[in-house]
């Protein structure tokens, strides 16, 4: 059980999330792919913290999880407003700055 094994899993999960974030059009799907990347980043953080400072890593991870939830709380209303104004969640249609 080496730390590099966790790096491999986290890197692959990050790659999958990155593919989803680029290849999707719907804002909800992009957000889901971003959440996948967050999960991978959390694994990176905790795997690195295991050998340096486990206590600080744990505290930082708890803060990161709480702030992730508040970030979802900001991003989802943005999508709701976008749907109300534009009538669609397609991000390619949200390319104009007015309106």
């Amino acid at each position: 059980m080496t730390i590099e094994m966790y790096y491999v899993t986290a890197a692959m999960l990050f790659a999958i999330g990155a593919y989803g974030a680029i290849a999707h059009r719907s804002a909800v799907r992009i957000l889901i792919s971003l959440e996948l990347m967050f999960n991978a980043e959390l694994l990176f953080l905790l795997a690195m913290a295991s050998s340096i400072g486990a206590l600080q890593g744990m505290i930082l991870a708890l803060f990161v999880i709480a702030l992730t939830s508040s970030e979802i709380g900001v991003t989802v209303p943005i999508i709701v407003f976008m749907f109300r104004i534009l009538g669609t969640t397609d991000v390619t249609r949200a390319s104009k700055m007015k309106g």
Binding site: T2, Y7, L13, A23, R29, M48, S51, L55, A66, I72
Partner: protein
């Protein structure tokens, strides 16, 4: 006492990683948004299991609470907004796959180059010590996080009410 030898740990790691990566693949490639949200829930659960395998049990419980709550919210929104579901952008397919693979490699290289590696140390953190650290050293970030979460809650109420005009 459970046989906590390294074979069981490796098997658990393999199973949890496969579930995490498999449901991640389902989350990005399925056509329906609800299945993507449920797959995100499964990924969150297996990542919580991997975190617990690393030794951070309380963080795993916290992660499970937050991510399962977020998944349910996503599902409601993707079901409610189910008209006009745009498809994947086919023109970007190869570029995005290439980019994803390269990003994964870059992150792995960064992580390995920090030199932090080797055998996983066994971690046993007393929750009382964590609480003491929070109150002694990190009380200000804690206050900020509480304030930001309260703001998010008020903002959610305002956005939800804004429809009845």
């Amino acid at each position: 006492m459970s046989p906590s030898n390294s074979v069981l740990e490796e098997f658990a790691y393999l199973a949890l990683s496969l579930i995490a990566l498999g449901s991640g693949l389902v989350a990005v490639s399925t056509e329906q948004a609800v299945y993507a949200a449920v797959a995100l829930g499964f990924t969150g659960t297996s990542v919580a299991g991997l975190i617990a395998l690393l030794g951070y049990g309380y963080v795993a419980a916290f992660h499970l609470l937050v991510y399962v709550g977020a998944t349910v919210t996503f599902m409601v929104f993707s079901v409610v907004m189910m008209r006009q579901e745009p498809r994947l952008m086919r023109s970007l397919a190869t570029v995005s796959v290439l980019n994803a693979v390269l990003l994964g490699l870059v992150f792995y290289m960064i992580a390995v180059s920090t030199g932090i590696g080797g055998v996983l140390p066994s971690i046993n953190i007393d929750l009382g010590r964590v609480a003491k650290e929070f109150i002694d050293d990190y009380w200000f970030p804690l206050l900020l996080v509480v304030a930001s979460l309260a703001t998010i809650m008020i903002e959610g109420i305002v956005v939800a009410r804004g429809e009845k005009k």
